[in-house]
Structure formats: structure tokens, C-alpha cells
Symmetry: C2
DNA sequence: CCGCAAATCTGCACAGACTGCAAGATCGGC
DNA sequence: GCCGATCTTGCAGTCTGTGCAGATTTGCGG
């Protein structure tokens, strides 16, 4: 269980680089920030930066990748009998409670919104999480990963999360994320055949 | 209606660059291809390449962006009363019939699968199409673009298309894409509450 | 403790990506 | 045909991203 000093140090460096990249990008704009600055802020050489990330963009969204992985793991730990969409609901509630990390999260999502070059990276991070989620759902339903249900559900859920958080952030982050997530999940659960007649 | 010579020439150059980028990447691998080679193959200067695309990756995926835009437009042209998911079904059928362009499509999707650096670009292209689709669905249902139904449906539909085409290509492109799409859309229509009991 | 093997960090060199700028070529309307 | 608008091109320069080889650090057995 215990991770060696080596691994811990690596993780620390990785997070320092990611945090530095995000902060510098938020304050100066991504284009104005060079790898050299990020490396200096994290107290490593520029060359080392590239041992961890292959681009500035990847570093900025690194925390998001971690968050997505974390979310998927929480899903995997939900009770086995629970319906998948209910598990998603529960996990999203947990995530929202996590106030301190939320601040960094909001900063990042806003940055992505204002810097088009980050969009592809952000989406790639979600795609990785989606692949992970597909496996989890397959296990949980007893279907194989090649069946369509796990893949479609994972994709739909990730999309829905994306839509929900986007809407939430548009309303300045003070809105009710859990409420939006609930609505979105209800839509998926009941089917998209026709628009809801009330309370759209 | 008539587009000037200027515009037509630009479009031609753009397509030549995109096609050259795709072909070179398929035959030599993306990493081995330089912008200079792409520009030469399209008979323009390297500098001009950057007037059209901001990276190699963007050029390779350019045809996909066009295809996605085309798909969205076909959706917009479906009869107004038709349920959204039925429109999607119909349009996908049209797309599959388009044999000659399919060959290029297959080559591209396979390339993206083997070159991780293309994934983000590909997803960004889908995201753009999704935004377009959200507007179309909003118009069609009489809801505003700020309602959740159009956004969730657009996201789910795009994800489902992605899953369907992925599965299709995994089976060497000779499988029944329309059949897979039908299954995927049925899943979305009926709701993801629980896995289908038969014919998963 | 000591020393060794493996993993990591770093500087150096270099090809290639990308951008701003200004001059030349081309198009479209009059 | 002429002129303004647009597009293309070369050039100069910065930054990204990678291979390589030599320090530096860590983990571990002696």
C-alpha cells in the first residue's frame, strides 16, 4: 500500500507542474505562458517538464484528468445492486460537496472556455474517463465491454455531466449543480424520445 | 447562390491541404510528415498552410469537420414534425449510402485510432457539431437553446454516433452500420434506466 | 554505513511548429 | 484597364518538443 519516496516525489512534481501551469495560464493567458516559466514555478528544469507532460495544454488540464479518474473510481465503489444512473447521481453529489477543490475546478473550466486550444485536451480527458466508465458499467451489469449498453450509457453519462457542469458554470457557479444533474439524469433515464412536457 | 472564384479557390486549397495531410499521415505516420511536405503536396507554400490550419492535426481532421457540419445540415432539413431521433436515424442511413466518401472516412477514423495526438482534434470536431446540433434541436422542439433537453439530446446523439461508428469500424467496416445505429438510438429513446433484457 | 543498479533530472543541440510583418500576386467590381 | 480588397509568399524569429549523454538521487542488499 505504501508508495515509495520515488513515486510520491514524482506525483508531487506532476501536481506542482499542473498547478503552476493552471495558475499562470489563468493570470496571464495561456499563450503568454512559456514552458520555461511553468518549470521555474514548479522548481524543475524545462526539460523535466516534458518528462511529465507533452504540452502546456496537457499540464493545464492534468488536474481534470485526475478528477475524472477519481470520479470513475468512486463509481466503481458504489454498492453493486444500485442502478447505474443512481450511482452517478450519488457520486456527483459527493463531488459537489468537495468545496475546496471546486474552486480550482471552476477556474479551470472557465479557462478552458476562454482558451479554444484547451478544448481538445479537455475532451480527450473526458474520453479517457468514459472508456474507464464503460468498463465499470460493463462489470456492474454483467455485460461484456463489447455490448452496446455500457458504451452508450457511459458516453451519454459523460456527455450529460459535461452539459450539466457547463450550465452550472454559466450561472456563475452559484446555481444548484445537483439539481441540474438530477434533471439531466432523469432525461437519460426516461428516454429522449420526446421533449419533456413540463419542467424542461 | 453562386460563390465567387475566390471562395471556390480557397475551398479547393483547403480540401487539397486536408487530403494531402490525411494521405501522407496514413502512408508515413503522422509524426514523420512535416508541414512542408503537406504544403508541397497541395502545391502551396508552407506559410500558406498556416493560413488555413493552425496545426497538422487540424488539417488531417478537416474532412471530418466538414462531414459533421454536413450531417447537421441534413438534420436541419428533415421534415419539421419528425421526432428528433427518427431524423437522426434517417440521416445516418443517408450518410452510409455515400460509398466513395466512406473510404476516406474509414481511413481517417482508423488513423485517429492509431495516432493518439489526433484524438483531441477529432473530439473537438464532434463538439463543434454538437453545438450546431443543439441549436437545430432547440429550433425543432420549440425550446430555447438554454433548455436542457436540446443540449442533452445533442450530446447523447453525438456520443451514440461515435460509439456506433467505432463499433462498426472495429468489425472491419463491413458490418451493418445502420443496424448498430438503430440499436443505439433505440437505447437512447427507451431510456438508460436499466440494461435491455434481450438483444443487448 | 557503503556501494551499486536503476530511475530520474538536467543541459545541450537541433529540427520542426507557428507567428508577425511587409512585399508581391490575384481577384472582383467599376 | 484600374484600384481596392484579399490571398499568397518569403523571411526572421521565438517557442515547442525530442534524443542523447552525463550528473544526481533513490532503493536495497551487504
Amino acid at each position: 500500500m505504501t508508495t515509495g519516496l520515488r513515486e510520491r516525489k514524482k506525483l508531487k512534481t506532476r501536481r506542482a507542474l499542473g498547478a503552476a501551469a493552471l495558475e499562470l495560464a489563468v493570470t496571464h493567458g495561456l499563450a503568454e505562458v512559456t514552458v520555461e516559466q511553468i518549470a521555474e514555478a514548479a522548481d524543475v528544469s524545462p526539460r523535466t517538464f516534458f518528462n511529465y507532460f507533452s504540452s502546456k495544454e496537457e499540464a493545464v488540464v492534468a488536474a481534470d484528468v485526475e478528477r475524472a479518474r477519481d470520479t470513475a473510481e468512486r463509481l466503481a465503489e458504489r454498492p453493486a445492486g444500485e442502478p447505474v444512473l443512481e450511482s452517478v447521481r450519488a457520486v456527483m453529489r459527493e463531488m459537489v460537496v468537495d468545496a475546496p477543490r471546486s474552486r480550482e475546478w471552476i477556474a479551470q473550466v472557465r479557462l478552458v472556455k476562454s482558451e479554444p486550444s484547451l478544448v481538445p485536451q479537455q475532451l480527450a480527458a473526458y474520453a479517457a474517463a468514459e472508456a474507464h466508465l464503460t468498463g465499470i458499467i460493463a462489470d456492474r451489469t454483467g455485460l461484456g465491454p463489447r455490448d452496446l449498453y455500457p458504451a452508450v450509457t457511459a458516453a451519454a453519462v459523460m456527455s450529460a455531466m459535461r452539459v450539466a457542469t457547463t450550465r452550472w458554470l454559466e450561472s456563475d457557479g452559484d446555481g444548484d449543480l445537483v439539481g441540474v444533474v438530477d434533471q439531466v439524469i432523469d432525461l437519460l433515464a426516461v428516454g429522449l424520445q420526446s421533449p419533456p412536457s413540463r419542467a424542461p
